[in-house]
Symmetry: C2
Subunit: 192 residues, 2 copies
């Protein structure tokens, strides 16, 4: 192993994080095992504890990382001139629905988060705040409090809509759910 390569350990850690982030979102936190994650990262069981203290620690790290990436994406899109409608259209797209593995961690894991230890729930809470703030910044309401409140609801609507569209077995209904979410988000994003 090229141990002293500068950053080698960090790269390995990142590889584990990336694999875990995908498996947690696809299979759920409880159903994704450490042995499977490590194997897919090209490592054996024992190496896990060189990088993380426990599975709970990994879950918290994955949530923090994945949410930070989502927020960064939102920042870039806002800088590029994309408004709330483009963001919603992307979030409630067929592509996002059909690819949970690299999609929104909140939609895939929020119920798991509610059952995690306090540290993980705190990491989640900290990381969604800037995402909510990015949505709020796109809204037309005059008071900041009103924008914040409405942003929370739009985020919850997006998360719930994506999850429902993934759960139903009827393709037409699933599409219909996405469309209804887009229309409702648009209504909520208007002046009120």
């Amino acid at each position: 192993m090229t141990r002293y390569d500068k950053g080698h350990k960090l790269e390995t850690r990142q590889r584990i994080l990336d694999v875990a982030a995908r498996q947690f979102r696809e299979r759920g936190v409880a159903a994704a095992g450490l042995a499977g994650i490590m194997a897919e990262a090209g490592l054996t069981n024992g190496a896990f504890y060189v990088h993380f203290e426990s599975k709970d620690d990994l879950v918290a790290a994955v949530l923090g990382e994945a949410l930070a990436r989502r927020e960064e994406k939102l920042r870039e899109r806002a800088a590029g001139g994309d408004g709330i409608k483009a963001v919603v259209a992307d979030y409630l797209s067929r592509k996002h629905r059909d690819n949970p593995g690299n999609g929104c961690p909140t939609a895939a894991m929020v119920a798991d988060v509610a059952r995690q230890p306090a540290a993980t729930r705190e990491a989640f809470t900290t990381r969604i705040a800037p995402i909510i703030a990015r949505i709020a910044a796109q809204l037309p309401m005059r008071s900041e409090a009103a924008r914040h409140r409405r942003a929370l609801a739009i985020y919850a609507l997006m998360v719930g809509t994506l999850q429902l569209s993934r759960a139903v077995s009827d393709d037409d209904l699933s599409d219909e759910i996405l469309d209804s979410g887009v229309a409702a988000a648009s209504a909520l994003a208007g002046e009120s």
Copy 2:
């Protein structure tokens, strides 16, 4: 055992269903084990297969039952004159947030459902249809299609809001999320 008591087997089955429904909602489907469920129902491991074919079968049965009960409740409330606002206020209440074990199965299990076999997802799809229809019936839009579309969005908003409020670690933020959901649902339930 008083075997031939009429309905004894059905009562036992119901007891297993009730325990499983609570554990699945509290711990998640993957984390709730059959041995624990059977023990809490006052039975041993082996008796499980007298009542269900497999854990997947139990999951489908629990979803069907629990959603049917929710729909029945909605029917009773509509008959009693409760409108959409009362239903939303109840759904997005602190009490519901703090008691997932006997709360909405969709909010607790929707991400698990998306990962279940086709039969379970079909059971889910079939059972949420009348719930959506009950919400739609309370809406003021003129066309049935418009009411249906809006009902889907309101349901998704309620589900997403409840989940978010359960996941965050900050009590004030959690309350704020519930309030924002109530306000947004009210906005979506108006004429548009």
